[in-house]
Amino acid sequence: MISLILIFPIIACLILFLVKKRALQNSVIFLYSLIHLISTICLCANINPFDIEQNFFALDGLNKIFLLVLSIVFMAFSIYNIEYMKDDSSSIKKLKRYGYAVLLFVLSMTGAILSTNLGLTWVFIEATTLASAYLIYFHKTKHSIEAAWKYVFICSIGIALAFVGIILLTISTGNLNSLFYEDLYNNARFFNEFWLKLSFVFILFGIGTKMGLAPVHFWLPDAHAQSPSPVSAMLSATLLNSAFLMILNVYKIMIAANTDNYAKILLLAMGFLSLFIAAVFVYHINNYKRMLAYSSIENMGILVIGTALGPIGMFASIIHLIGHSLIKAAFFLTSGNILKIYGTKKINSISGILSTDKKTGWLWILSFIGITAFPPSILFISEFFIIKTMIKNGQYIMGIFFLLLLTIVLFGIGKAVISMSFGNKSEKIEQVKMSWLMYFPQIILLVIAFGIGIYFPFSETIEKAVIGF
């Protein structure tokens, strides 16, 4: 099944290359998302009828969750994409390139998630940059060129620094000539501490760039704001997760080598800085897609803070990751609806979404309720666990600071969402009739996010995933 997920996009690219048909690109993307979801479910349920023996890709307790989240978000993306790209007047050539880029983007994220080798994970993370650059640059405006340039350049430097980290890690391993995670975990206690600590700094900052952690987050608001809305959803809900998984795997090596206290300080510093940056910028922002991008930076900060708090915090982080991906994807997809109706990304040019298009308005409000962790959103449980762990550990000041920053972000996003959703309908806005395909994916994502907030059946799976942290 793993081979199927990894080989299909290459075959699909070939089909796209050979057949010149406008509608084909959407069908191929949808077919891949379907295969991806079915294969992932089979793999999670231990049904693996045909697979080739190999060492480089495997499913474990942790990456299983990441893969499932990727599959669900990709499925939502592919459904929304059918309608979103329908009115696009781009040439067949451009649409084909979009198709290649989406397929290779998902392939590289899947590879990064399933890889059992640190070097290979790095290669796939690098490949995500290559594949997604075109998606950000798709509209070919001055602003999208700027965003793509910043994205490629900043991420490439970050990934190059992560490579320095891998070289330093190789130095620390002494006689071990392997980058397989299993070998690294088993031999970590013999590693040279100096080089290992140094390597973690480089890998955290390098891959942290890709994950959107402050202070190396600068590409993120521009790229998320300029790319087509479905692509923004994929960037925020899946790409950042793939980078986070690589950081987690390296952090696990630090734990095995007994140098995790040092790593925790770095994770907490970057996490709180991300929260702080989001709180400062989200308050005055006038572009709703940028606002959502800053919310992603905030949530990435929460993920690494949770990770640094030990096993319970890690448990909360994984729940947060699931919730954030589902809700943020719904939020970004709904922003695509708003852009279609109003034709602008400016918050103060939009009011009365509820009276203009009720369904979009409600999706916008529900996504806001979800992302700001109001019950029954699943994010309420994760943030509650994180705060509870801080109090239990006696880290009261940290807890207060955490709550304060979350409240500022909540106020910033809430102010914008309320002003956009309520108020009078603008008379200049014509009624745009949208297909149900532009609401359905968000509804499903939000139903899952709120549903697992009421009844969470995956505790055991996550407990297994956090073994070793």
């Binding site: 490439s156 320095v164 940028r290």
Partner: protein
């Protein structure tokens, strides 16, 4: 023997820092490619069969040939031929000749880059137990190359200069991978190649697009996206 090549590689960074002509930068990239090739040929601890002093035809086996092929592709073909040709093509298309408006005058750039390189040599001479796992001179010079390149990215004003500095940084990282006193996994070599692929194709293509859209290659055009519009 390899020490001479390493020092020359470090010195090439001083030249890149103190000149503004793109053609000179590209020529230095070619020189760096050759220097890295010579460093591999003379100094790799795991591949010392290349050494002219200890070379015996009877010790050469198929694995050696494959390693030699990988080294030639990485250093000579990609770094000394492919990248410079591509950059020269971009240069011809964009009619750009020099980055004359760097934030810092050339004299100061020369002093700062020399100081960083000097610091690199100092690092190489520190007596530190952890340094037993590496070759100190490789490490010191590669760190200074990476630092100088990152600094150049921040002070230069055109996107082409940024791409060239990025490639010199990649060369510094390549030297760092040679500092490891053991064989690196093959996957690392693949990674380096992919990195270069990104540098050349994506950045090169974007440079072309930026030039068409904005009429020149100034980085200042690329600061229009702001938080408070």
């Amino acid at each position: 023997m390899e020490n001479i090549f390493i020092i020359l590689l470090g010195l090439s960074m001083i030249y890149i820092a103190s000149t503004s002509r793109f053609l000179a930068h590209i020529n230095m990239l070619i020189a760096q490619g050759w220097l890295l090739f010579f460093i591999c040929m003379t100094g790799l601890p795991s591949e010392n069969w290349f050494n002219i002093a200890s070379f015996k035809l009877t010790t050469v086996n198929i694995e050696h040939i494959i390693t030699l092929f990988v080294i030639i592709v990485e250093t000579l073909f990609v770094k000394a031929i492919l990248i410079p040709i591509f950059l020269k093509k971009v240069l011809n298309n964009t009619h750009a000749h020099r980055d004359s408006a760097a934030n810092i005058p050339h004299f100061y750039a020369l002093v700062i880059s020399s100081t960083v390189l000097f610091a690199g040599f100092m690092i190489a001479n520190i007596q530190f137990p952890a340094f037993e796992l590496i070759s100190p001179l490789y490490f010191g010079v590669s760190v200074s190359i990476i630092v100088i390149s990152l600094w150049l990215i921040t002070i230069k004003h055109t996107v082409l200069s940024n791409v060239i500095s990025f490639i010199t940084m990649e060369n510094g990282i390549f030297l760092l991978s040679l500092a490891v006193a053991k064989e690196m996994p093959i996957i690392v070599n693949l990674g380096v190649l992919l990195d270069i692929f990104i540098a050349v194709f994506i950045l090169g293509m974007l440079v072309k697009e930026i030039n068409t859209e904005f009429k020149d290659l100034e980085v200042s055009h690329l600061s229009d996206l702001k938080d408070y519009e």
